[in-house]
Subunit: 345 residues, 2 copies
DNA sequence: CTGAAAGCGCTTACAG
DNA sequence: CTGAAAGCGCTTACAG
């Protein structure tokens, strides 16, 4: 910067003003400085800027990588967050950080980051307390039990489940089972997404006069296969499954196939809160409720940046998943005459 | 740090020496300083350290996110790289960076990172030239056409393909097709992994007296399905497939199933350079050659750090994928009497 | 509209 | 074994 100043015949302060566009500078001066910068290939040192301005322009995504694997949905989130950050002149760091808040607290005090995006938020998340008491700006992807006053973006599970049920009911399904994920650890039993989706399913079924059947299975193909077999035994009249368990969906399809139950002819499958990628990897291509991962990533970053720059914050938001019909949902098969139907006819 | 120095009754220089363990300090003094640090909850400011020491202790993973999607294999790589970095007191930044080197060059001159890990390396990768001419320490995951003198870790495709063919031939297969990935763009035609795996297959088949059939398909289930159908028409005597195309493997299985070809009874499928995760998501669970993603991530980071700390570098390495038998490979079905067999019997 | 100067919180020769 | 001091490359009141 000193070189640039010398070459342009000004002080380094003035150079700083044009680099940051932070003060009026005479057009002629500005031009000379810009020319000098171009000739020297100047780029301001972000470390020095960080120390002087007390802003590193680095944001961290805290992800409990050890406790929760990073699926393709979460991945889409992170890359979109990184682009959003970069558009606003911020960098994004990935922090594989423990769930308990202790590690997070140490990292924060190093002064490397200006703000934090929290993923995989639990209903009572110790990391939130850590961040609050350190007065570290942050945004959650997901939300705690009571997120009042906190910045967050999350999936609108109420609307998502509602739309999903509309789709299935519109196809004539009435025996619908919700497949949730078996928590990989005790902590994840209170994982916000899981709890909220199940609650939404329960409520929406009640309103529709449907029986709210909810089952869990492990987060892999074997778990899905097992579940499929159990379901055929225990609830043979089921005609549709709504599943929120990306990694088990394949297993469900193939488990059904092994027992001669065809998707979607005999049974429809709707995978919610997932990525197109994941749906397209299946055969038949899954009908999905697409998780707004890209939007969540962008908004999460923008919520943090707004706090940092003192702009009016965009406000916390809930985004629904959008229906992306695939090949795994179809009209319900004609139901065999049930006792009830015979009574009323 | 000034507070710590005051409380311990020493100069900030001495505090710095114990924080960094960089100079002999009298045990008594050290103890007093450590006590003061604990009481004050001191953590050194990494930004100030970076500016003073001219080392940020930040490493970047440059990933062409726009051109190549981040699958579960690449993800495992990044999380393991992040842990390795963190063990060595480094941070890891994810840089979704363009393939052409221009963006990389700008980011480097900001002075944020000490070193770079390059992923998805092309045979003639412009980013390598950028890094070399900037004298930026880096390591490649993968390698250019001639990686002499460069730091890299890569999969040993020769050994991997060899082992894979051993497995299949050991099961009696002789009509083996290699399924490669259709490059998403022209640049990726010279993607190191693809080119090397195909070459290894060709060479190894020649040695074994097998016909080296190589086909390509798009990187998704639809591509795999399509390919399965074509294969049944064009090469009905195929009894085994070796595939290096994670996202298409499912499609191949289901495409075969639709035509009544069962895996592995009628046809074996071995997916190479992939993750257990990916294999387990399929049904049948795929037999795979597991990509050493975790080891590559760790080694890549350590190669960069060794350069930075001036240690004897670990040396570039090639790691083979390991066979992880699943349910998708089985003995070759008894071949129908072919003209050749009849002649020789 | 521009500049001189203090300061961000450390590290690191250098001196003692 | 310890300390005083310069300096890392910027930003930012403050003065003019």
């Amino acid at each position: 910067m000193r070189d640039v100043a010398e070459r342009a015949g000004v002080s380094i302060a003035t150079v700083s003003f044009v680099v940051n566009n932070t003060k009026r500078v005479a057009p002629a001066t500005r031009e000379r400085i810009e020319a000098a910068m171009a000739e020297l290939g100047f780029r301001r040192n972000v470390v020095a800027r960080a120390l002087a301005s007390r802003r590193t322009h680095i944001l961290a995504v805290a992800y409990p990588a050890l406790q929760h694997r990073l699926g393709s949905t979460a991945m889409g989130f992170i890359t979109s967050a990184a682009s959003a950050a970069s558009e606003h002149d911020y960098h994004l760091v990935l922090w594989p950080v423990d769930n308990d808040g202790g590690e997070l607290s140490e990292l924060m005090r190093e002064g490397l980051v200006d703000g934090i995006v929290l993923m995989e938020v639990l209903l009572h998340d110790p990391r939130v307390d850590t961040l609050l008491s350190a007065r570290m700006p942050f945004a959650m992807i997901g939300r705690t039990a009571d997120p009042t006053g906190l910045a967050f973006v999350d999936i609108d599970f109420e609307v998502t489940v509602e739309k999903g049920l509309d789709h299935l009911q519109g196809l004539g399904h009435r025996e619908i089972v919700f497949v949730s994920e078996r928590p990989p650890s005790e902590a994840f039993r209170a994982y916000g997404a899981k709890v909220r989706a199940e609650a939404a399913f329960r409520r929406s079924c009640a309103e529709r006069g449907l029986e709210p059947v909810i089952v869990e299975c492990a987060q892999n193909a074997a778990g899905g296969r097992e579940l499929a077999h159990e379901l055929i035994e225990a609830r043979p009249r089921t005609t549709a499954i709504m599943i929120m368990n990306e990694h088990a969906a394949f297993g469900v399809v193939s488990g059904l196939a092994r027992r001669g139950v065809r998707v979607p002819t005999d049974l429809s499958l709707l995978s919610i809160s997932t990525s197109s990628d994941m749906g397209a990897t299946s055969d038949p291509v899954l009908s999905i409720m697409r998780s707004p991962g890209k939007e969540l990533g962008r908004l999460g970053v923008e919520l943090v940046i707004a706090q940092l720059e003192g702009n009016e914050p965009p406000g916390s938001r809930l985004l629904p998943c959008e229906l992306e019909p695939g090949e795994s949902t179809a009209p319900a098969p004609p139901s065999p005459p049930s006792p009830m139907i015979m009574n009323t006819s």
